[in-house]
């Protein structure tokens, strides 16, 4: 674990991350007001959210300083399963049998 004098260096970093997060929040709001297709908006918003999330995880949650393979193993498993979980919508909406119809009536 980091020593006391490292910590004081960290504090500057924390302030830097805070400013970055605030700036990204402003950017993501601004980006959403620009005229563009929904796909572009989704990509931009998610990329910015991922960067922000990455900063929080790396700096605030100290992942940058963790020296542990075990944790990455857990993250790896979790990430794979998360991807599987996020595949559910496409499983439900895509690959219906031919001539299947959404809706009971009509």
């Amino acid at each position: 674990m980091a020593e006391a004098h490292d910590i004081s260096k960290h504090i500057k970093l924390y302030i830097g991350v805070f400013i970055a997060l605030a700036v990204f929040t402003v950017i993501t709001v601004l980006a959403s007001t620009i005229e563009a297709g929904i796909a572009t908006h989704v990509v931009v918003a998610l990329v910015i959210a991922c960067i922000k999330g990455g900063l929080v995880a790396a700096i605030f949650m100290h992942l940058k300083w963790e020296k542990t393979a075990v944790l990455w193993l857990v993250f790896g498993i979790c990430a794979i399963l998360f991807v599987v979980l996020m595949a559910i919508p496409s499983l439900t909406v895509n690959d219906l049998p031919p001539q299947a119809h959404m809706g009971t009536w009509g």
Binding site: L96, P97, P98, Q99, A100, H101, M102, G103, T104, W105, G106
Partner: protein, 296 residues
Amino acid sequence: MNVRMRVIVGLVLALAVLVCFDSSAFGQAEGVDTSGMTIDGNYGYGLPPDISVHGPGIDQLIHILHWFMVLLFVGWGIFMVRCLIKYRQRAGHKAVHGSVKAKPAKFLEVGVVVFETVLLLGFSIPIWGSIKNDLPEPTDNPLRLRVLAEQFAWNFHYPGEDGKFGKTAPKFIDAAMNPAGIDPGDPNGEDDIVSGAMHIPVNRPIICDISSKDVIHSFSLPVLRIKQDAIPGMRIPTWFQATKTGTYQVACAQLCGNNHYKMLAPLVIQSAEDFAAWQVEKSAPAEDFDEDEFED
């Protein structure tokens, strides 16, 4: 003593599994009487009678699978029983610490893999594709009808003479007169037939568009080897072709409420002429829908 009993029990089990198919001989005779209806077919302990074109494929797959299961189980069983007898603890007998090289086990595992691959690619996927994917072309002259499930009845909606379904909407539903919610203002719907019994012609492809008004049901025709969930908000086609006339049963296979068990309808497979006659009789303007005796 334990060992001997084990052998006997094992043998009885294996025998029991062996007679598991083609065992309709144990069953009851033709013409079972249920709910005041005479149902055709010979029902017994094995698979029910099969009167569909694609059914033999499914039955064959089930048979092959069970022979494979019996073979594997008996093989395992013989090995196990032999081990239990030969390597039981007794004076002068000691276990061997070292690990045996189990080549047969590897063969077995590879064999299982190969066999499963064959079943999957050679049987299951083609059969599934032909039932769920390759719907009959219009040139095959299929009869298309809608199956609309509700708690606890089946509604069979036929397009009638013109081959076109009338528009449907929930607001037109009238439990007695218009259970399928056909728009009275739609000319396509004028000759539509809605019946509580499923009448279909023999030897002609049937496409059913299956849906539900309320909860999830499952449209099951055991004698035709057909099953498809009826899901509200979706209309899913499935098709089949019957090879024999007679009166059978439509079943619900998915728990749908208190009277789930009573959610059955007659399945009447008729010759083309009889079916045409039935259609004419039903589309006569007098009563669009007669209350079916199976409905609650």
